[in-house]
Symmetry: C2
Subunit: 234 residues, 2 copies
């Protein structure tokens, strides 16, 4: 069995820097966590906020703090630091080899899309608040078994907003259904194609920062080697 | 221009967990840093040490602390925490978009191999101590311009030790020269092939944890999208 994680990230048109931050951290009890934060607004101000929130979350998680507590800590930190005036969405996707589960922590109005091993599409869309502005904000936590055939798609609101200016609004669950369930795509292809559709809807000029993270559990006899690749246009 | 970074990581034969830790962190002023730590010995004890050192380094760097100071802080932290009795190698590879350079920080007896844009192979092998055991230990810092054709290969000592039991000792610079300068390989292929040669020399049963990190700057008209892929066998 092998876990594939892929991320594709584009910046709002004509702003150099994405306001979204993605961090990865090894879990001290085994496994990995990915933290995806979208800071309010765009550009440098958003980047500073998303960096602050992501940093707090990974610092906690690197010390073995559980996901839900790390998300609460990130909220409390931003709320205290900015006096409740600035918000950010926060998603944590963890592969926990200790418990043998995927842990999804969500502080965002965007849903998380899950494909189950029997090809059912499930939306995690319980009402959930971004961190930073409302005292005592809690994450929505979902735990899934590490099972072959499971896929998880997490995204920031730039993906949902794509094409909102034109008549065609991006139906993300339908796109995921079509791409992932009908076709045989790996995590990177799924992330890339979702992002590409959003960019197409915005005529290549995204109106907001867009980040897509895909996790997929596949039936592959691994060689025991962990691999990571990163491509960074400059 | 695009920056490719690839990592391949294998565990010592018959130990579940690699004692090497790799972490990635976004630089608050733009860019990314990769921290690779090899804790003394192997298995859980080594993992705990490498995690401790990597965590300290990324915590500093996430707050904007410069690479050399982060490496010194990681040393001081381990030296203080373990009373100078435990060592770890520490390499930091940073893509600093603010200064437009690659910053290499090295606390390891293993060299870093650099391929320059004119296909010269350069060994960064100034004497350098691992962190943790000798008071005041400093990193060797090298800064390179972000120039197309540059490649950097960083590895932990498990790669050098491969095959040491048999008669064939792994000549890493020669292998890099052959693979990277003669052939057209991307960062992931270069990391994979170096690791594969080491595994072959050890008959598929590595005597130590092995990690290889390759950074390559290529001439590719990017689409402005950052991409990351990770594969984790479980």
């Amino acid at each position: 069995m092998e876990i594939e994680v892929a991320v594709a990230k584009a910046s709002k048109w004509a702003t150099g820097e994405s306001g979204d931050t993605l961090e990865m951290v090894e879990r001290p009890h085994g496994g990995l966590s990915f933290v995806l934060v979208d800071g309010q607004r765009s550009g440098r101000a958003a980047k500073a906020i998303s960096n602050l929130v992501a940093r707090k979350a990974i610092r906690e998680m690197a010390e073995g703090v559980r996901d839900g507590a790390a998300a609460r800590a990130a909220h409390d930190y931003l709320y205290t630091y900015k006096g409740g005036k600035v918000s950010a969405t926060l998603n944590i996707v963890s592969v926990d080899l200790d418990s043998g589960t995927i842990i999804l922590s969500r502080n965002s109005r965007c849903p998380i899309v899950v494909i189950t091993p029997d090809d059912e599409l499930r939306l995690l869309d319980t009402p959930s608040e971004p961190v930073g502005t409302r005292k005592g904000t809690k994450p929505q936590i979902t735990e899934l078994p590490l099972e072959e055939g499971t896929a998880v798609v997490v995204f920031t609101d730039g993906l949902e907003a794509a094409g909102a200016r034109s008549s065609c609004v991006f139906d993300i669950p339908a796109a995921i259904q079509e791409l992932a369930i009908a076709g045989e795509v790996n995590a990177q292809q799924l992330a890339d194609r979702l992002l590409q559709r959003a960019l197409d809807l915005d005529n290549g000029r995204p109106r907001d920062d867009i980040s897509v993270l895909v996790l997929r559990i596949v039936d592959r006899a691994g060689d025991g080697v962990r691999r990571m690749t990163l491509r960074l246009p400059v």
